[in-house]
């Protein structure tokens, strides 16, 4: 496919983003998918016991990341946020250290893969316990407001299924009461492992819960990185400027099984998945960028080669690193030395 001459280009609503920013979003999406697949490959090769993919979340996460101000904003993510974490500054090498559970990993190989944490990037530590990190995000937002650090906000993400937890409700309510600088971003991939949205809620639109708390709510196409960027940027700006919290719902889809421990064909059909694949946000955005003349097919090809090289390099470097030493089990229980009863 050749470059598109100017007069034939399909216009693209850039929401004020520069060509470089559009390319950055696209690159993050490619990198997320590449690293995602790498995790599953390594699992099949028996090199890692567990991997968890995020295919289908690329547009949503890369778009949201573009609305995140590095060095200022705080991200409280969940385990599905590989792309969001890359987008705010984590490196593929850091991702692979987590997948390989090496000593150099931020968590020292203690947590599951995809459970990143990085003070440098403003990425708050979180556990595997769903919704548990949402009040933490609210507390962080409170600290920002308390210290009058205007121009800062917290972005907290969670899946559709996680909105059923009591801690989600309590967090929404408190943030609304105190008009905190926080954006609640639901990545609605329509499944909670095997549980469809229809068994998680009595009505299908998560964003509609915002009214009941007294905050604005908005739903957008999570397969469209620019629609996502626009919605998240608006909400983050509102939060940063004292306008209070927002509940956002990005509708996407989980293309893969929940994790390498799951077989999704036990509860959904190939057809269902194939139907959504037609809409795969990565090729969709690739074409949009080409048709808008933002990138040429050649640039795309070299971008992909680039991303693959980076992934291979990160894989090799991380794999070569040592595991944590057994003695590490006893560190960081409390500050300072700790003599565990044994």
């Amino acid at each position: 496919m050749a470059n598109i001459p100017a007069q034939m280009r399909k216009p693209l609503d850039r929401h004020g983003l520069s060509g470089d920013q559009l390319k950055t979003i696209f690159r993050t999406m490619l990198l997320q998918r590449q690293l995602d697949n790498r995790g599953f490959q390594l699992n099949r090769q028996g090199k890692v016991p567990f991997a968890l993919g995020s295919e289908g979340h690329e547009a949503l996460q890369a778009g949201a990341a573009m609305a995140f101000v590095r060095g200022k904003d705080i991200l409280a993510p969940y385990y599905r946020d590989l792309g969001l974490s890359l987008g705010i500054g984590l490196t593929p090498y850091e991702i692979m250290l987590s997948i390989f559970a090496r000593a150099a990993d931020h968590n020292g190989g203690r947590q599951f893969p995809n459970h990143y944490s990085s003070k440098r990037a403003g990425l708050m530590s979180f556990s595997s316990v769903l919704a548990a990190s949402i009040p933490h995000a609210v507390g962080a937002a409170y600290a920002i407001k308390y210290r009058k650090e205007s121009g800062r906000a917290v972005l907290v993400t969670f899946g559709d299924g996680t909105t059923s937890e009591g801690e989600w409700h309590e967090s929404m309510n408190f943030a609304a009461i105190h008009k905190l600088p926080i954006v609640f971003l639901c990545e609605n991939n329509q499944w909670a492992i095997s549980t469809p949205l229809s068994l998680q809620m009595g009505q299908p639109d998560i964003y509609k819960r915002a009214d009941g708390y007294g905050m604005p709510g908005e739903q957008f196409d999570g397969f469209d990185p620019l629609a996502t960027y626009a919605a998240v940027a608006r909400a983050m700006e509102r939060a940063r400027s004292g306008g209070g919290p927002t509940l956002l719902e990005g509708v996407c889809y989980r293309f893969l099984a929940h994790s390498t421990d799951d077989n999704d064909l036990t509860y959904r059909t190939r057809e269902d998945i194939a139907e959504h694949r037609k809409d795969d946000p990565v090729p969709r955005f690739e074409n949009a960028l080409i048709e808008a003349g933002v990138v040429t097919p050649d640039e795309v090809a070299s971008l992909k080669a680039d991303v693959l090289r980076e992934t291979n390099d990160a894989t090799d470097r991380a794999e070569a690193m040592p595991f944590p030493a057994p003695e590490e089990l006893f560190t960081h229980v409390y500050e300072g030395p700790w003599e565990p009863w044994q």
Partner: protein
């Protein structure tokens, strides 16, 4: 303990749980199962696979992700005459339900002076050695065993799983039923056919011995038994008691054995401080102190929050038959 009979079959622990649940659903209309992914998926370990097809979505309930209400709704069902079996997908996620288990289920009978009761079973997979990291490896028994009104079952053999799960389902009071993930497929055994019940609160001597009493439960019972084989070759005789339930706890069985062997080693996967071993040791120190020829030892996990994901961290946290053999040897030689 139930033994192999002509009419018995070999099952692993997952199959034993599944078979027992299936029978309960067949036998009693009041039995319903609720939890995350128990329906369409048939539970993440496939324990309830296809139950929803046979028994319907009103009996095999895929709940939202909301542990407090999974238990809380089950409490209400139990108060109004059903026999709910609530599942917490992993024991690590039982904490949000703590209020409903400790504050409500355990006190329903007591606070209403017996007017309302709570015949409820809460099943959940627990334990490590499966690369589960911080949030798919924990032991939770010690966080609940202090609570009057609850019963806590921790079976380790397929035949015990069936007999004790039947007892739990029949029980008129709330029972926390803890299934060790690593034993799920690893441990196979003969399971008698037909309905039978093993009373909750009775320990089982899995191996007789004369020089040392080892009290354990869960996965570690199997490792302890393995360790004793090694010790036998060295001419040492060790008795292994499988508690099977930690509340009520079989004080009599423990004291009898200790009075015979005059030495006690407690072995559990959970960390030591304030763990199940503390009460076992205190019971014996209170009632059989002068029958002891050695200090009471506890061979347990170190006092750290959890086992890590990286293999070296998991191995450093977990014991092993070899480590257990060392601890036993030391006691026998004491």
């Amino acid at each position: 303990m139930a033994v192999a009979t002509s009419s018995s079959q070999t099952l692993n622990n997952v199959e034993a749980v599944r078979a027992t649940l299936y029978e309960a659903l067949k036998d009693d209309e009041r039995v319903v199962i609720l939890g995350e992914d128990v329906g369409n998926r048939g539970n993440v370990f496939l324990i309830t696979k296809d139950f929803i097809k046979e028994f319907g979505a009103d009996r095999i309930i895929d709940t939202p992700i909301a542990e407090a209400s999974i238990v809380g709704i089950a409490v209400g069902m139990a108060m109004e005459g059903l026999r709910p079996i609530a599942e917490i997908q992993f024991a690590d996620f039982i904490y949000p339900a703590f209020n409903q288990i400790v504050g409500e289920a355990a006190k329903t009978r007591y606070r209403s002076n017996g007017e309302y009761t709570c015949p409820l079973v809460i099943r959940t997979p627990y334990g490590g050695g499966v690369r589960g990291a911080l949030s798919h490896s924990v032991s939770v028994e010690a966080l609940f065993y202090h609570v009057p009104g609850l019963k806590i079952v921790v079976p380790s053999f397929p035949a015990d799983v069936k007999g004790l799960l039947n007892a739990a389902i029949d029980d008129p009071d709330p029972v926390l039923f803890l299934e060790h993930k690593k034993t799920y497929r690893l441990i196979k055994g003969e399971v008698p056919s037909g309905h039978y019940v093993i009373p909750i609160g009775k320990a089982d001597i899995k191996k007789e011995g004369s020089q040392l009493t080892v009290v354990s439960y869960g996965l570690y019972v199997h490792w302890a038994l393995e360790a004793t084989k090694q010790l036998e070759t060295e001419g040492m005789s060790v008795e292994v008691i499988d508690l099977r339930s930690v509340r009520p706890m079989d004080k009599t069985a423990i004291l009898e054995s200790v009075r015979k062997t005059r030495k006690l080693l407690i072995v559990h996967e959970d960390n030591k401080f304030g763990g199940i071993g503390a009460e076992i040791s205190a019971m014996v120190a209170e009632e059989a102190l002068f029958d002891l020829d050695a200090p009471i030892r506890r061979h347990c996990a170190p006092d750290v929050p959890a086992m890590g994901y990286a293999m070296p961290l998991e191995e450093a946290y977990m014991s092993s038959p070899a480590k257990m053999a060392d601890a036993m040897r030391e006691m026998v030689k004491f």
